[in-house]
Amino acid sequence: MTTAVGNLSIAVQRRFGRQRLRKIILGSIPFAVMIAIWHANTVFDWLPPVFIPPIGDVWEAIFFLQEDCAGFVALVMLDNSCLITTHVFSSIGRVILAAIVGLPLGIAFGILCGMSRTLSKFLEPVGVFANSISGIAWIPLAIVWFGVGWVTTLFIMLNTIFWLMFFNSMLGVRSVAKVYEESVLTMGGSRWDVIKQVYLPGAMPSIITGMRMSMGFGWRALIAAEMIGGDSGLGFMIFTSAAEFKIEEVFLGVIFISIIFMATDKYLLAPLEKWTVERWGLVWRPT
């Protein structure tokens, strides 16, 4: 019996690697504790289901919301009958759109300002001004300008993503050692060669930090924007469900939001960091 357990444990350790397994287990403990307390609440009836619904209800809410969905086509077409997937996809769609527009713009302006003192003197104060106003503070104005809908949510997200990306890229470029630029110039490289081959990769540690930050803050801003100025999306769903006291749908929305963000960070941003700055030895990382 003990050898069987021992063998199993060794097999599992071989499969995942000791360190990774340790990391996964340690990271899961707080979640396990949280879920246990949550379940205990239902079992011992500490708080009524109106405040904290049973886990089963939250799970069932997925199927309840998806009940009227008329198959795969309706699901992909973001039909209003497929409630949960439509909300999830419209939030993710907005994040992707804002990332496609906001990240490259922020990086481009950040690099330009990192290179040119004049341009940075010109744009930096505006940046500080814009950054001082939190994303949500723009919502009322955005609703007046763009009405309720996706333009407002996109505007809020862009506002957050662009400036964070701008500042991070600018500081990243300024931290690149001058000798790299000089070495490319002395090999006959042009300004454009310097941007492509020195500033962009040299600022990569900062740019990736900026991406992680701006996606995190952007995602939060989106949820807030959807609550007030949106007509779909997870934030909208949480807000309307709360108004109707469908507490299990609120819980479901929150869980979806965190899972989506954790997945983006783990499967998109972290690998990007590994593939660039870690491979180039620009950051030190404990193993």
């Binding site: 000089e182 070495s183 002395t186 090999m187 006959g188 081959q197």
Partner: protein, 290 residues
Amino acid sequence: MDDGGREVARARHCCNEIIITGAAMNSMTPKLVVEGLTHYYPDEYTGESVHALEDINLELYEGELVSVVGPSGCGKSTLLNILAGLLPYKIGTASVDGNVIHGPGPDRGVVFQEHAILPWRTVAKNIGHGLEIRRVPQAEREKRVQEFIDLVGLTGFEDKFPHELSGGMKQRCQVARTLCSDPVVMLMDEPFAAVDAQTRITLQEELNRIAMATHKTILFITHSVEEAAFLADRCLVFSARPGRLKEIVKIDIPREQRNWTNMNDNAIFISARDRILASVREEVSIAVEE
């Protein structure tokens, strides 16, 4: 060359003559010419004008390795930056192969003191960078890159990133990168100052071998008198600030004989080294008194 092979002259009086002798010995036109170069720059903190260089005249002939030594702050790095085209100058002229220097260009390759190879490129991609910038076709580029990887002894490290190399290997990589672009003149700015003593000795011998193999024209800036005497055909001693060409010491030792096992017993080397050292120390004491 009877006097132990060295040629000593007070710069202000007869430097020009020496340069003429050099030209007579080597009938080719010089690769690098500096005439009447004087330079001032504003101090970073006080904004006061600093007189860095005063009336520098020098010529470098093909295949020659000329070293520049002088007390710190004598403007030797300023001179290199001007020649590299990284620092604009107003007074005097500097030209390579007859073209006046107006900014950086591939006719002058620079080996920097710091680790200047790009951390995000592999060794091979770093060495081929100059050719890549000039859009040399990939097949030809790879062939040339391999040639220089082998020359500097980095075979087997082609796909490594710089952070995986030792300090000495990084500098070899930098030397290979500069050579691979095939510049007219190679400018080296204290390239071995940041590596440990053992590695430095090896790198000096390696550079001697490379100079022999490639027949490059090299201007080598250093603060190490031994290094200057070991490597150079001619050693230029700069005065304390403002930097003037104080003295030129010729070191007439065939490259084949230059290695650290022989050099310490070589009379020409010893006398040249002592002469340079005395000359530099004189300037250092002037600089300290000021």
